[in-house]
Amino acid sequence: MKQLRSFIKKEFIHILRDPRSLLILLVMPLLLVILPGYVIKNDVKDIRVAVIDRSRDEMTSQIIDRLASNSYFHLTDNLDNEEEALNKFKNNEIDLAVIFGPDFADRLLHTHDAEIQIIADGSEPNQATVRVTYAQQVIAQFQKELQQQAGLPAGMNIRIANRMLYNPQQRSEVNFVPGIIAMIILLICCMMTSVAIVRERETGTMEILLASPLPTIVIVLAKLVPYLVISLLDLAAILCISVFLMDIPMEGNLILYLAVSFIYILTALMLGLLISTVIKTQMTAMLISLLLIIPTIYLSGMVFDIASMPLPAQIVSNIVPAKWFILASRKIMIEGVEASYVMKELMILVAELIVFLLLAWKFFKTRLE
């Protein structure tokens, strides 16, 4: 026990004294989550907007004027119906369509429930979100001024309904976050663990450790524990950012989600251990781990829909652990299902975990060759 403790302490020393490791372990995961969600919002300008005005009254023309005179917007058309707007979207002639419901001014002043629908091209979700937000701001500003000028009651309201085209379940982060978590865990557990073990072999320290009475299990456990701890820390940080900053829902049971994540982390750790048993240099360990990232990105359903892949790819995707973790995560986070609904995914992960463990155990050498 004392051996294990001091070995784990040593592993943490290695990590804490290596700025590059710290960068990969602690900074990179957060960047990977934050970048797609926040930073890569392109500067949105020259938004091409078409309007469909079913009221053609005082109010709607005022709003249209405001849109037209706003530097962000560029009013292209005044259309008659949605059909025309859809065609314009298809031909990439507009980014946004603003549709005023019938009797706009009348309803706004009397029943206080005037309707505006904003349709956006959702193929670039981040930009689309920003464009819609800008349009909403223009309308909100108009509404505020109107209230002040006319002394209208505070209950007056313009109902704005947004619709994204092509990508109805639009919130990309919601689908993205489970995938990012899957990838980060794979990177940390697989790459960092295998590199940490292979490094001892390359620097020759493994030679001394193997020639000592230290049990193999202690060497292995001590290598795995720090990365398990760090993965859990990263997971917690990513979840906090996702839920509190990015409004990603956590519909299901948090404990259930953590349990699934824990199994996935163990699976990735075993994969890292397995790699380290058959690889000789840190460089190869890193390359192999990076190669594993590719199927994780392409075959896990993180980016592309598995159902629409060619059959061979679909079959191969079944052995990608990330696929099952992402499936389970989405079910828990977004659909809020109970444990029984993710049993299949969980069982597959556990099975892979056991296979990797047995293989690693078989290949791990108590000697140098």
Binding site: T205, E207, L210, A211, P213
Partner: protein, 304 residues
């Protein structure tokens, strides 16, 4: 009983194509310094790794204090100290952290066996908070030796501890080994490519291409040398070497620093006749002395 007993040990690589260790047998006695002396690639490291249970022999057996290196490898690992050829400590950990870590690895503490490492560790103690990667070569070596000693091993295995080390540090290192042997009756098995270190060992094996050229005490090996050996110098050392090789009766001629060592056929050549023939070739300040061979002379003789 010998503390190390090796019988018919064979190790090949590349599916048997490269014979690294070719049917070697030897014994190491308790409390002696045993040297494996030979160039890089002679098979020294393979022998060390088989004895330290790190690799398996193709055939043959070896025991350490009666324990078999294959069957009892776990027991052996508790009782040996090993310093691999490459500096193998954690460079990002301090001197003290390294020593404490290796103490725990061997289920002991620094305090328990401090008397063993005291003399050596005191020399690096002023730098105990320095990361081992930032130590000088000599200090790294001392730390590595401390780490290999901290669990009071029965046998200390040192694989080329002095390679690439300057003569002054090498001398210091050997003084430490002599003291360990003297104070604690420690058995030390050490390999080196430097022939001049042979005299520091009680017994040595000269090794080349996986085979022993001979095993004996350094004096024993030198006594067995059969050739007539002269040390020769003149005012033109480089030309002298070529001239010697052209001289009838000279069997071999090799540079040995300030003199050339020459083996001769005494029935053809006397010291006087050689001097005369060299003088005739224009050499002056000629000195010819019969000498006792060095281990390097023996190695070259046995090698050919």
């Amino acid at each position: 009983m010998s503390i190390i007993s090796v019988k018919d040990l064979v190790k090949t690589y590349n599916k048997g194509r490269t014979k690294a260790v070719d049917n070697l047998s030897f014994d190491v006695e308790r409390g002696e310094i045993f040297g494996l002396i030979g160039p890089d690639g002679a098979g020294k490291t393979s022998i060390f790794r088989m004895l330290t249970t790190l690799i398996l022999a193709d055939s043959g057996t070896a025991t350490i204090d009666g324990m078999d290196v294959v069957k009892d490898f776990k027991k052996i690992r508790q009782h040996i100290g090993y310093m691999p050829g490459q500096f193998s400590l954690y460079q990002d950990m301090t001197v003290e952290e390294n020593l404490a870590f290796f103490a725990t690895v061997f289920n002991t503490t620094i305090e328990e066996n401090y008397h063993l490492v005291k003399d050596i560790y005191e020399q690096i103690k002023p730098f105990k908070d320095r990361r081992s990667g930032k130590l000088s070569g000599g200090m790294k070596q001392k730390l590595a030796l401390c780490c290999a000693l901290i669990h009071a091993p029965l046998v200390l295995f040192l694989d080329e501890p002095t390679t690439g080390v300057d003569p002054v540090s090498r001398k210091e290192f050997w003084e430490m080994l002599q003291k360990l042997k003297h104070d604690f009756k420690l058995t030390i098995i050490v390999s080196t490519p430097y022939m001049d270190e042979a005299v520091q060992c009680d017994r040595i094996a000269l090794i080349q291409n996986g085979r022993f050229l001979t095993i004996d005490s350094p004096d024993g090996i030198i006594d067995k040398y059969r050739e007539t050996l002269w040390a020769i110098r003149s005012n033109q050392m480089h030309r002298l070497l070529n001239d010697l090789r052209q001289t009838p009766g000279v069997l071999t001629a090799s540079g040995f620093g300030e003199t050339h060592h020459v083996t001769v056929d005494p029935s053809v050549l006397t010291q006087e006749s050689l001097k005369n023939s060299l003088a005739a070739l224009g050499h002056t300040e000629i000195e010819v002395t019969a000498i006792r061979p060095t281990i390097e002379d023996c190695f070259m003789d046995l090698q050919s």
